[in-house]
């Protein structure tokens, strides 16, 4: 059976049906418990009759971007009611393009039909959305305060006394609910007799319950289905009238049609008219606000609602244009030289209007100064705009950015990063911009790009991130390195082992020996992120940077850091800069070259697979061609590989608590808060300095390892895995916790206590990955290793003892004077800096300013380093000797800052000042490193020593 299916898979290149349970197990000892544990839920969930939910989203060219928030995230959004089975998962299709569907069973029918009508609906909503704001305003004016904070009173379950008031006038309210049409297919087919989609999707029962008449009646809500989205949101009352869905006015005539346009799980705005007949309303708001919108970033990634964000930056001049330098004089058309342009705002239009300047300068300046143009500055509406240039072939990429967001000395770095990302994604700028079907994708890409640069704070809603630390984002994002989280060695070893096991591709169903045919892809390597921190990397540096540039431009790292991702699957072909540089021709024109007979050199194509689960994200680089089989056309993601990555991530979940522990551990090296050094902080400085690290340590120690979370997910998945043996109608709930939790009793026998946390992995391996037939591939750990656990425990205690005894202090002297640091390992492409949590612990009024200042300063320092790396590698290949030497190579650069507390009111005494150094140092020997540090002025430090100590602690 397996043979047959693999063959089918090779043919179709996308189906993922593989029934593993029928497979012969080459592993000897099989026990029930281990079977359940080691077979991942993802596996069994997607087996046979059920296909992964992202499959619909695969685009024609094989690309996939699928993002689903975890139920935990939505719980946070809904912020009430305990988790129930029906908590909707949420995903939205990334592109409106028709997907390649492998028609399977009738269960997809509904989705199909809805997909067809979706664009229409979106368009309709967009048109209506334009009128939305004025109309709402008039409503609010007319109807006396349409507050968003609605009292939550449901007639049927009112409790407590309320001081009420009687509202006589009709009263409009907006309610956001999550609905998931995908659930319909599995529960029951929507029947129009039973109230149709309105009841099935929303849980709203209409008057009479005898179906809808098509005469355009008002939709008066007669009842609510228990546990339905409508009842859970607690704002929809019986007696309300449903007026509009997503600002589309609805009546009984069109409601079914409108609802059927919703194809995927999403957040829907319902406008309800309430209080007609003198409904008793709360005057107080007893509950917290029930609905909060999904974070802007997620909405942006989903590709919805970008207009509002775009409007908020419309006044800031920014633009990207791809212009053709070769003008066709035969047929002069308006704007024919513009191959691509984004955005379409007034300010951008002004920049577009002067594109003649850019073209002329690019043409001419080489003759004037003897070099290609790099940047220019111009004053637009009293705002200085820097314009960066990148010439490729006969085309010119022009990017305009306001100078207060991107300083001139950093512009080049931004452009280099952008160009590289586009090359990674499309092979060359030409193929990125000149293919028409890329345009919507590029729009989305650049929308993210500009949002990231212009208002990064809007994208993240984590309270810890300081507002408007633009320099910080700029500096850290554009370092040719990734943020690294140092882990205790034992955890690190485990993580690396798990990754290596995955990369060895030693899965039973993937080995060539087993099937006697070439595998689809060779795994080149992978890297693993936890909450946006790189914790393991098995990729060469350049490949890592390629991958990470992609992730960064799509904000995948901050996504994982801020919210638990239910499921993220990204698949796309990438053009690795390291490899495709010499043979860029062949990689861009594979379609033609594969058709030619005879010898061709390497036809390797590379694919990037990113899978995110909760806070984990793993990026895998796959190679097709070479020793794997050739990739034809544009293959979509292969379920086997996706599942393998998921399995890996699930396996790693057992380590989550250990990593969390590391994140919540007191910072090593320990940091000081700038405010402690100023008396105006109102706190006793000595006290703060003395107590804080101890406090931190205490809290870390006291914090229970919470066995509930440890391994819970693993067991839960195992649970659903077990259950998955019988066809589960609840499949689409995917990884909702409830299912697993309900079954935890069954095989939670070995529910680990805090001490045995780590052995979940070990024992999983030692018990053998029997029944699942190598899906859980821990070949090395097949035999119980008597030393494994012991050594782990030993290292644990050692580490803890170490932690308790001494907190690493980097600076010399009595007081710790280190405020902040960044160490970049150029060779490995990683950098370490205090974690977000460490930073937020040091909250104060001055400290965030100091951090911002530090990053701004780092921009300048690094620029000085870059300038001095002579002879600079000319980006266009030509190398001409420098006639000037400038300042020469800068090895070390420091700036002393002085700060005064704000609002110093005491007139008699002068404001106290605090001075601190920001020092950057570039070391080329023995390992190229860059080191940026910020410390108090009181002790003159020798930064070399600090650099050494810090890099010593960086265990790789």
């Amino acid at each position: 059976m397996a043979y047959r299916e693999i063959g089918a898979r090779f043919e179709k290149n996308s189906a993922c049906i593989l029934n593993e349970k029928d497979e012969e197990n080459d592993v000897a000892e099989v026990s029930d418990g281990s079977d359940a544990e080691s077979s991942s839920s993802s596996y069994s969930e997607y087996s046979d009759e059920l296909e992964p939910e992202w499959l619909d989203d695969v685009q024609k060219n094989g690309e996939l971007f699928y993002l689903e928030l975890s139920e935990g995230e939505e719980e946070a959004v809904l912020s009430h009611i305990t988790a129930t089975q029906s908590a909707a998962t949420n995903h939205v299709r990334f592109s409106e393009k028709e997907a390649e569907i492998i028609t399977d069973k009738g269960s997809k029918k509904h989705a199909d039909s809805s997909r067809k009508s979706q664009p229409k609906f979106k368009k309709l909503a967009k048109i209506l959305g334009r009128n939305r704001h004025p109309s709402q305003r008039s409503r609010a004016d007319g109807k006396n305060g349409r507050t968003s904070q609605q009292p939550a009173s449901i007639l049927k379950n009112q409790s407590g006394q309320r001081t009420g008031l009687v509202v006589q006038q009709p009263y409009l309210k907006d309610v956001c609910v999550y609905i998931n049409p995908k659930r319909l297919g599995s529960i029951s087919p929507p029947t129009s007799e039973k109230g149709g989609l309105l009841e099935a999707l929303l849980g709203v029962v209409l008057r009479g319950g005898d179906g809808l008449s098509c005469n355009g009646e008002r939709l008066v809500i007669h009842g609510l289905v228990p546990h339905s989205p409508a009842s859970k949101c607690a704002q929809i009352l019986i007696g309300d009238v449903l007026v509009a869905v997503d600002d589309v006015d609805v009546t009984s005539e069109n409601i079914e049609r409108v609802l059927s346009c919703i194809s995927g799980p999403t957040q829907v705005h319902l406008t309800l008219e309430t209080g007609i007949a003198g409904t008793v309303m709360d005057s107080e708001v007893p509950r917290p606000r029930p609905t909060a919108p999904v974070s802007q970033l997620v909405r942006l990634l989903w590709g919805e609602d970008t207009t509002e964000l775009q409007m908020s930056v419309a006044h800031i001049p920014h633009i990207i244009m791809y212009l053709s330098l070769k003008l066709d004089s035969e047929s002069p058309q308006e704007e024919q030289e513009i191959l691509y342009q984004y955005p379409v705002s007034e300010a951008a239009a002004q920049l577009k209007g002067v594109r003649g300047i850019f073209l002329t300068l690019c043409d001419m300046l080489e003759n004037v100064t003897g070099g290609q143009i790099v940047s220019s500055s111009l004053l637009l509406r009293k705002q200085l705009v820097h314009v960066g240039y990148w010439k490729e072939g006969e085309n010119l990429l022009v990017i305009g950015l306001p100078s207060d967001r991107v300083p001139l000395l950093h512009l080049q770095t931004v452009i280099n990063g952008l160009v590289r990302t586009l090359r990674v994604m499309y092979g060359s700028l030409h193929s990125a911009f000149c293919e028409v079907e890329n345009a919507p994708r590029l729009d989305h890409f650049f929308c993210l790009f500009f949002q990231r640069l212009i208002q990064p704070s809007r994208l993240s809603d984590s309270p810890g991130s300081s507002p408007s630390n633009i320099s910080g984002t700029l500096f850290l994002d554009d370092l040719p390195a990734m943020r690294w989280l140092t882990l205790p060695p034992d955890i690190k070893v485990e993580v690396d082992t798990v990754l290596s096991d995955f990369e060895s591709s030693d899965f039973g169903d993937m080995s060539e020996d087993f099937y006697g045919m070439r595998r689809l892809y060779v795994i080149l390597g992978s890297c693993l992120f936890y909450k946006g921190y790189l914790i393991a990397n098995h990729l060469p540096k350049e490949d890592l940077l390629d991958v990470c540039l992609y992730c960064q431009h799509y904000c995948l790292l901050c996504l994982g850091a801020e919210q638990r991702v239910g499921q993220l699957v990204v698949w796309r072909e990438v053009f690795l800069q390291r490899r495709s540089q010499p043979e860029s021709r062949t990689s861009t024109s594979t379609s033609t070259s594969t058709s030619q007979p005879g010898y061709c050199e390497s036809h390797s194509r590379f694919f990037l697979l990113v899978v995110g689960l909760r806070h984990y994200m793993q990026c895998v680089l796959l190679e097709a061609g070479g020793c794997a089989s050739l990739a034809l056309g544009s293959p979509g993601p292969d379920c086997i590989y996706v599942d393998q990555v998921k399995a890996t991530l699930l396996q790693l979940e057992s380590l989550e608590s250990a990593i969390e522990e590391r994140l919540s551990a007191p910072p090593t090296p320990s940091l000081s808060c700038a405010d402690w050094f100023l008396p105006s902080g109102g706190r006793d400085r000595q006290d703060m300095i003395g107590s804080s690290p101890i406090l931190n340590r205490l809290t870390a120690a006291i914090k229970p390892p919470s066995p509930g979370t440890i391994g819970r997910s693993l067991f839960r998945e195992a649970g659903s895995g077990l259950k998955g043996r019988k066809p589960s109608p609840q499949r689409s709930v995917s990884d909702s916790g409830s299912e697993g939790r309900s079954e935890q009793g069954d095989f939670g026998l070995r529910m680990p206590s805090a001490g045995t946390r780590r052995d979940s992995l070990g024992s999983g391996g030692s018990d053998g990955s029997g029944g699942s037939g190598g899906l859980f591939k821990i070949p090395k750990l097949k035999q119980p290793n008597p030393f494994y656990l012991g050594s782990l425990k030993k290292s644990l205690t050692e580490r803890e003892a170490e932690e308790m005894q001494n907190t690493l202090k980097l600076t010399a002297g009595l007081e710790n004077t280190l405020f902040h640091y960044i160490l970049m390992e150029t060779v490995q492409g990683i950098f370490i800096t205090p974690t977000h949590r460490e930073q937020s612990q040091l909250s104060g009024s001055i400290h965030p300013q100091l951090i911002r200042n530090f990053h701004h300063c780092c921009l300048s320092i690094r620029h000085a380093f870059q300038q001095s790396l002579l002879p600079r590698q000319d980006r266009r290949g030509t190398d001409r000797p420098h006639t000037s030497r400038g300042l020469g190579p800068v090895k070390e650069h420091g700036i002393l800052f002085q700060c005064k507390p704000e609002n110093w009111t005491d007139q008699k005494k002068p404001a106290p000042t605090m001075t601190y150094w920001v020092i950057g140092r570039m070391v080329l020997e023995p390992v190229p490193q860059e080191f940026y540090v910020c410390f108090h002025d009181s002790i003159s430090e020798v930064p070399v020593e600090m650099a050494f100590r810090l890099s010593f602690g960086l265990a790789m």
């Binding site: 300047i357 143009i373 220019s376």
Partner: protein, 435 residues
């Protein structure tokens, strides 16, 4: 000499070009700084892009090309457009910007604002502008050329008057005051090797840019011992001409007086110069001797490892530059030219990034401030010191409310000691000279 080979040096000195065109019609007026003139089509397009932008409400300010080439556009008084072009990475944006401002001020100084702002006859203006060439060429060569005479003058870059400090300045000051009074003026100064040694109180009140230009103008061409030229002060009296009388007292020592129409050059030269200056001629000689070594009085004890320093008084906008004694044995000695070059570069580096320019916003165009980015505006806290360690030397800059000190030291100075070296030097110089 460790400096660049001569062939490259030639390129070096010619790497900055200055174009002047009428802003409205784009007629080229002059082009200085290069033996090889740019083709007319290029000049036309350089002007054209800017004009095109102005028409679309987008004022083009600056361009940067690979390997540090730069083009800078400025329009002055809506009448003249100056375009600065450099193909040399050592010419910073600040340098080029200052160059254009100075060139404009030069033209105002020589021709008056009225003449420039209300151009009636382009051909006549073209001819008249020739009289500015000498001054403009001198500015173009500043910091580019290795000519002995100008070495170490940085006023064009810092917009501070280059000064020289003497221990026996009182006598010279009295003499100058008396001499100026006798010439029926209140504005007088004594220049020693291009630097202001002493000046009357009124002279110090002139704008720093004017002081820099007047000092340059008073730098007589060889062979002349006196001159009388009409000058318009770009800030003080842009439309009413004054007379600048310059007298060479000794080679390298020049007395200048700004006066109205009254005393003739002949009169002052024959009667007053000898009468006032011959008694102090020995004093002047010793000053000139000292000036050959350093602009600082010998009473200032500089550390042996100080290579060069630039001290700016932020209030009075005066500056002193000096080379150190530099007798380090450990590292190969940097040539004086390279040291001056490094000092200029370091000043530019620190001033553009950390120490914001504190010039009074130029009266003529408030928007001129917007045309370049102030990187230092992005700092939330005030930068007070900064240092650089390079292959050749270590640089340290200190900013206090009163002073800015830019110091180059030998590599043998430990980095952690730089700060104390710098602060001690600052203390030593300011207490010894009262600068």
């Amino acid at each position: 000499m460790f400096s660049i080979p001569s062939s490259l040096g030639m390129l070096h000195s010619q790497s900055v070009q200055l174009l002047c065109l009428t802003a409205s019609s784009g007629v080229p007026l002059f082009c200085r700084g290069s033996t090889k003139q740019l083709p007319f089509s290029i000049i036309g397009s350089l002007n054209g892009v800017h004009m095109f932008g102005t028409g679309h409400d987008a004022a083009l300010s600056c361009c940067e090309t690979e390997r540090g080439g730069r083009v800078l556009w400025r329009v002055f008084h809506d009448s003249l457009m100056l375009i600065g072009i450099s193909s040399n990475a050592d010419v910073s944006e600040l340098h080029l910007r200052r160059l254009l401002e100075n060139a404009w001020n030069c033209m105002v100084l020589v021709l008056g604002l009225d003449e420039l702002a209300n151009t009636r006859n382009v051909e006549r203006l073209k001819r008249e502008l020739r009289s500015c060439y000498r001054l403009i060429d001198m500015l173009l060569e500043r910091g580019m050329d290795d000519r002995d005479g100008d070495r170490g003058l940085m006023g064009d870059l810092t917009h501070c008057a280059d000064c020289i400090l003497f221990p026996q300045a009182d006598l010279l000051q009295e003499t100058l005051d008396a001499f100026t009074r006798a010439a029926e003026s209140e504005f007088g100064c004594l220049l020693v090797r291009g630097r202001l040694a002493v000046a009357t109180e009124k002279w110090w009140r002139l704008a720093p840019q004017e002081l820099v230009l007047l000092s340059a103008l008073a730098n007589l061409p060889p062979g002349k011992t006196s001159c009388d030229c009409p000058v318009f002060l770009p800030q003080g009296s842009p439309n009413v001409a004054l007379r600048l009388l310059c007298f060479q007292l000794l080679p390298g020592a020049i007395a200048c007086v700004l006066c109205g129409p009254r005393p003739s050059l002949y009169h002052v030269e024959n009667e007053q110069v000898c009468r006032f200056w011959s008694p102090v001629v020995e004093n002047l000689r010793s000053c000139l001797d000292q000036a050959k070594r350093s602009a600082l009085s010998p009473s200032v004890g500089l550390r042996r490892d100080v290579l060069a320093l630039l001290l700016i008084n932020r209030e009075s906008r005066r500056s002193v530059e000096s080379l150190g004694h530099a007798c380090s044995k450990a590292t190969p000695l940097l040539s004086p030219a390279r040291r001056w070059e490094l000092l200029r570069l370091f000043y530019t580096f620190a001033a553009t990034r950390y120490f914001s320019s504190e010039e009074s916003p130029s009266s003529e165009r408030p928007t001129a401030e917007l045309l370049h980015e102030e990187f230092s505006a992005g700092f939330t806290h005030l930068p007070v010191h900064c240092y650089l360690v390079t292959d050749e030397c270590k640089c340290y800059a200190v900013q206090t409310p009163q002073h800015q000190l830019f110091l180059l030291t030998d590599l043998s100075v430990p980095t952690f000691a730089l700060r104390s070296v710098a602060t001690h030097t600052l203390d030593a110089v300011t207490t010894a000279t009262g600068f």
